[in-house]
Amino acid sequence: MLVFTIKIMKSQKKNYLLYFIMMALLFAFEFCFIAMFDYLNQLLLDPIIFMAISFIPFMSLFISAILGAFLSQYFIQSKQHEFSMLLMFGRKPKDLFIYLLIQFGTILLTAFIIGIGLGILLIEMINIFLANHFTFVYSIPYTIFIDIFIFIFTLIIVFALSAKQLTYIDCHMMETLHQKTTQEIAPYQILMSRHYYKRKIPFVHIFISIIEILILFYSIDTLIHNTILQNKLIYFLLCFSSIIYISNHFIPLLFDLFHKQITQHSFLFHALTSYMHLTHQLLSITNIHSIVLPSLFMLLMFCDPNNHITLLIVPCFIMLLILLLMCIVMKYIFYLQSLKKIYATQGALGYSIPQLVQISLLKNLFFFLSIVLIPFIYIHYLGQYIIQNQILESQMMYGLEIFYVISYLIFMASMIYKEKQFMKEAISHVKYLNRSE
């Protein structure tokens, strides 16, 4: 089994390396969040202020643990075929568990050790970067001690996910063996029948959508201008619900309502449908993304202006953004694989590469507008409030906003480039259409 594991790791070293780097970074960020928490603990702040401020690294730590589980889940999902092959060759589930223990145990332990080293370095870098403001003081043994708990927690989650995956494979062995485990949930709910005589306008959904849009703008506006803390919290939650509703349900509703008209425009039709496919694939991660980053700034609204804010918010925002992007990239890589067959089919139907590129551009534009821009608008509005109340320096706030936009622009550009490459490959290789693939 050990020899087999080493062979598999060698043959898939690119995937393993990617997973290893991501996990090492994740552990490093987790180390930083724990160190920040420890630092705040040592400051002996007023309990209410402490609660508000310490929630920033605490939430970041919680989110990073969830993202770690997501990363592991995506990675394990990509190994479905390998596991089913092993089961087919007569390996017992117990053997597979040892196989997983060796693989993930080794990777996660190495990533954890490197992560601690990286974390210490990162804290030093934060100290150098913010040298004018203050110095970060924290207890390394305490941080490592807490970090070990987080590591054990991650390990348990990874094994639980693996066990779940093994059970699934055992029950659906033929499908996983033939790589037929396609999407089992519809990417969107059809609200209006395609039969013209059966079409009924979904008034309830239209009404809810209008209400949600109104809530979004109203809650953002009130959040900034209302001074009562309890009200802020309510509007904050309302705002999130409307953001999630809009990014998940609004475009499918528009697609259904204007289906007749959209079928007249092939690019728009395919861009919208593939956008819904993409957002469905990245559903959990995009929802987390829409909530988490504005939440960091939301927490600032409960704090008084002081130096600790800059120390916490700037690295937390950057590290969480990197983590979220890593998760999106990892999931996106698997999503891209499923696109090859779709591109090949579209090519066979007569869609040329320039046409597919235009569809991809439009789809990514929709993605940018709904998944990236809406949280950005929210962050920007909150930022205005934060600057006005001098909680954060304007340069720092704008710097973070620019970092956000640039990071996503780079990601979007690489998405478009990758998709174009995949289109060329899928259309020029007939194997993606054939039954053997």
């Binding site: 519809a186 039969h195 092939s266 089919t345 066979a348 040329s352 590469i353 020029s428 259409l433």
Partner: protein
Amino acid sequence: MSNILIEANNISKVYDPDILLKRGKNIYALNNVNFELQKGDFISIMGPSGSGKSTLLNCLSTLDQPTSGHIQIFGKHLSKLHQNDLCEFRFQKLGFIFQNHNLIPYLSIYDNIAAPLILGHHHHKEINIRIQELAKMLEIEKILDKFPHECSGGECQRTAIARALVNQPEILFCDEPTGNLDSKNSHKLMTFLSQLNQKETTIVLVTHDPMIASYGKTMMYLYDGGIKTVIHRNQASQKQFLEQINEIIHRDTLLFEFDQTPSQIQSSSPQMEIQDQDIAFVSKQTVYMVMEGIKSDENILKNSTPLFIQGTQISYKNKRNDLIQFDLQNIQEIRMDLSAHFANFGLFSQYVFHILLDCVSPKGIYQLKLKNRDDFIHFIHYFHQLNIPIDDPRHIEEAYQKYPDDYSRQKYYQRTHKDLISYKS
């Protein structure tokens, strides 16, 4: 006006050219295949696994490019078309049905069927009417609001058929269309395809099931990348045709197992009626001369059409596998020309040359494609002995010089070149 929709000349497909060049083994997915598809044809391509059925279908349907050889489709050379033109061409003229239906998973059944029409910017009413018609015909009107994963294999396959037909293609390519269907649904689908064919839709179908193949008008049997047998249904009933197919598959499979030469098998294929006199006399592949008293090379013979010469009597197989016979005494003149086609071997891409020999007779032109150097020289000597006028073969040398790099790279043709010079002197 010609009824030929697709014409493939000596197409070969090598999936890994490097292996071919390094090891010199026969790893052809397709080897020197000649094919002709006429309007209204219903051809079933059969053969064992790995015989090149799907590769041939992919090459003919423009989804894949042959390594060497020419494909003319609706009078256009595929190699000269840009990829975008090919896409446009597929959209305009072709329809595809794949075994695993290849539906787009995130589109509803309705949208999947509509996808080709949407590309054509049709009015939504027209799209709806066309989809409803097809859905009713294929009994899928109840699942139009569903997604592919919510439908059964048969329903998905019928959706794929509807998608293939929605644009009213002139040629329908089906790769194992009944692979995921039960016998009842398979029969329904094949009856439907037969009805389509009666309405002038040309169909090319790949299958390994003789029963499915018997729905067609012609059955083509492939083995090791080459067409070994072609039989036509003509006036025979489907049952008789099925018996014929079964007999040929059974016999061919057995004979190949015992390593029989292809020529022996080909000679047992049923005679066919020649439909087009212009192409009737074109040799099936590159010919290899088999003369009495001269030992022939079995390996070359396997990959060529044997040209039997007994005195002045010549016999060979044409593209449709008919036996063509003529007497050299009836030949009025011999014309020679050079054909060059680009063989895509990646880094080792090069032109491959053939000499075309047209034997002009009052009946028509017997066109032979020569590859073997000895054949070429032998032919010239032979025609000289019979006092048949030949146009000056030295213009072949001039033709070669159009491709100076490729010509000089090939020692084989350098020898031909020397022979030409010796002929001149």
